[in-house]
């Protein structure tokens, strides 16, 4: 029982990382219709920048905040490369693959190929019932919840958020009402970058990251986002938790080597089911 709880705690914290990634996919896709393959690269770069700042003597906390801001700036830059000018869906997807490769090359050049980690929140492991939980797990869960809640407030209760939603539902009409659709697209990329950065700085003390972790992170974030058909932030959170827990249970009860494969098989089944459901709907209409 306590073993299961232990897996659940780890699974939920990884799930929040996937949820942050998935929300990044959703925010960017809703506004720009771009599926950003470089989403995982934000996690890697955010984590690595925090690592270097900490190494340079910048105090804990400030380093992480600066790293998140840097990720947002990188996101903005990537948005500018991807959405300014006219591009087909396939071309923009391949452009973001190019950006992800660029990030890998830079990360490999600057930080090398060994896995990196740094110590996170200090303090003794907390004891709940029969299980021990590192404080960093709680920090990851807590900060993720706050960030996601803030994002929902932004989307539902501010002018900017409503403008972004308007761009998502009908870009043409949004432009007619005076909303700058391109600026909203850039903003969505900056938010996507910041979300990835938050995930990166929080996960690195728990799971070491290498320059090429981005592909696995991106595809698992995408898998979580698919639960909400790439458009619903709430379902993306649910998807993140589902995939985080599923991975951890597979790793715990079967084999660590199979965790990603099983999660990805789950994702393919989910896609197949969605396609099947769409056919059923099409038949009814």
């Amino acid at each position: 029982m306590s073993v299961l709880l232990q897996y659940l705690v780890t699974g939920v914290s990884r799930g929040f990382l996937f949820a942050l990634l998935a929300t990044g996919f959703v925010i960017i896709y809703r506004v720009t219709k771009v599926v950003n393959f470089a989403q995982g690269a934000f996690v890697v770069l955010g984590g690595f920048i925090a690592y270097s700042l900490l190494g340079a003597g910048v105090p804990q906390g400030l380093s992480e905040v600066l790293a998140v801001l840097a990720s947002a700036a990188i996101g903005l830059l990537f948005g500018a490369v991807t959405i300014l000018g006219k591009m087909s869906t396939i071309a923009s997807l391949i452009t973001t693959i190019g950006l992800a490769l660029l990030c890998e090359a830079v990360a490999m050049l600057v930080w090398g190929t060994t896995p990196l980690t740094y110590s996170g929140l200090s303090g003794h492991d907390l004891r709940f019932g029969g299980i021990f939980v590192q404080p960093q797990y709680l920090l990851l869960i807590g900060v993720s919840l706050v960030v996601l809640a803030a994002l929902w407030l932004l989307l539902d209760h501010t002018y900017v958020g409503k403008a972004m939603t308007a761009c998502a539902s009908n870009p043409y009409a949004a432009r007619l009402t005076g909303i700058n659709v391109k600026a909203m697209g850039l903003l969505s990329f900056a938010i996507g970058g910041a979300l990835g950065g938050v995930g990166g700085v929080l996960i690195m003390p728990l799971f070491p990251i290498t320059y090429d972790s981005d592909v696995n992170l991106a595809i698992l974030g995408f898998a979580a986002a698919i639960v909400g058909s790439l458009t619903s932030p709430t379902l993306a959170l649910a998807g993140g938790l589902i995939f985080g827990i599923a991975e951890e249970l597979v790793a715990g009860y079967w084999s660590q080597a199979n965790e990603t494969a099983v999660a990805l098989a789950l994702m393919i089944l989910l896609l197949l089911w969605q396609s099947h459901r769409r056919q059923q709907v099409a038949k009814l209409v």
Binding site: I90, A105, I219, S275
Partner: protein, 382 residues
């Protein structure tokens, strides 16, 4: 009235180009050194894969990030069957059929979703494929891979040595390119082209969009499986390292460099990217240089190629070249036409097919001009 035809077909520069390349491919294996022969075979194999992926990306508007997995699946299927005593050529054919079947099974549903579903779905397939390989050492050799793959034999002829593989691979590549060219010019090809421009308009005109996309995808996987199977026999040794996600991305880069949906682009893209990768590796390798430098260079250059090409030259190197030659040819013809206005009635129809090339509507109108009656009653005249 029969249209006079040039000896070099409808597009003389392209025909000359194909003849030159064909002659070069026949001569090259005789003059290349052993390491260069390996590169030569690699380019041929990549050309086969890229020809399929280019059709998929150019016509179905879908990206596969799992072409490396289909390549690997073909290689492993052929190797395992051949090691278990199947005649190699049968193993090769079976590998191609199995790869196409896997793609068809996955694609049947994924292709109904938006483009990114197939991209991430195939990427997931690749990661699952690599994971399964590492988990089944007794069957697939695990991380070590499979050795002692028998040589390829075609009946009494055994293909062994780099030179005979070079010929074999390029004969197969030429056949694949010819099949692709005929597909793009046949009725399904016109359907695919219509689909590339507007799926809904194509669907309204009676093109079965999903079934065409599915056939396109299965064909691209079959090409990849074929190239992979030949690769397994060529090296006689395969391991999971050879089928990384990076390989799949390299195939996509080759398509982008060559130009989406162009048949000759497959060859150009495969050759350019393979050679650039080799040059970068040799530049980045040295006793005092960091070990990761070759990878940094190649990934960085790939990234810049992808980003700048998609922004500046969306139809690739071949698209750019054909646009430039078309412009040159047209300028030349216009100059000639203005110099000899009296001969205009003759030169018009004769030269028209060369200038408008495969554009069916224009060619038909050029023919129609030779029929005496214009307009509504043209049908009655013939």
């Amino acid at each position: 009235m029969r249209r006079p035809r040039s000896l070099l077909g409808a597009n003389p520069p392209a025909t000359v180009g194909v003849l030159v390349i064909a002659a070069a491919t026949l001569v090259l294996p005789q003059v290349l050194s052993a390491p260069n022969l390996i590169t030569y075979v690699t380019i041929g194999l990549a050309t086969i894969v890229v020809a399929g992926l280019s059709l998929l990306m150019g016509f179905a508007g879908q990206v596969s990030l799992g072409q490396g997995a289909f390549y690997g699946f073909g290689a492993y299927s052929a190797a395992i069957l051949a090691i278990h005593g199947w005649p190699p050529i049968i193993a090769l054919v079976a590998a191609v059929v199995m790869t196409a079947a896997v793609a068809a099974a996955v694609g049947a549903l994924l292709l109904r979703l938006e483009g990114h579903a197939l991209a991430f779905g195939t990427l997931a397939l690749q990661l699952i494929f690599l994971s399964v390989l590492s988990q089944t050492p007794s069957f697939s050799g695990g991380a070590i891979g499979l050795t002692n793959i028998p040589a390829l034999t075609l009946g009494p002829i055994a293909i062994s040595g780099y030179r005979s593989y070079a010929y074999f691979v390029w004969i197969v590549a030429a056949a694949v390119l010819l099949v692709s060219r005929n597909i793009t010019r046949s009725r399904p090809g016109r359907g695919l082209r219509a689909m590339a421009t507007s799926p809904s308009a194509a669907s309204a005109a009676g093109v079965g969009v999903v079934s065409y996309k599915l056939r396109d995808f299965a064909l691209s996987a079959a090409y990849a499986g074929l190239a992979g199977a030949i690769y397994a026999f060529f090296l006689a040794y395969i391991s999971p390292d050879a089928f990384s996600v990076m390989l799949s991305i390299e195939f996509v880069i080759m398509v982008v460099v060559g130009g989406l949906g162009t048949v000759s682009g497959a060859f150009v893209g495969a050759a350019v990217v393979t050679i650039v990768a080799q040059v970068l590796t040799s530049l980045g390798t040295g006793p005092s240089l960091p070990a990761q430098l070759p990878n940094v260079l190649s990934e960085g250059v790939y990234a810049l190629i992808l980003i700048t090409l998609l922004r500046l030259m969306p139809d690739g190197v071949v698209g750019l070249a054909s646009r430039l030659t078309k412009r040159l040819v047209r300028a030349k013809l216009e100059r000639r036409a203005t110099l000899r206005p009296a001969a205009g009635t003759v030169t018009g129809p004769v030269l028209a097919p060369a200038t408008v090339e495969t554009d069916g509507a224009h060619a038909a109108r050029a023919d129609g001009d030779t029929v005496p009656s214009r307009g509504g009653r043209a049908g009655g005249a013939t």
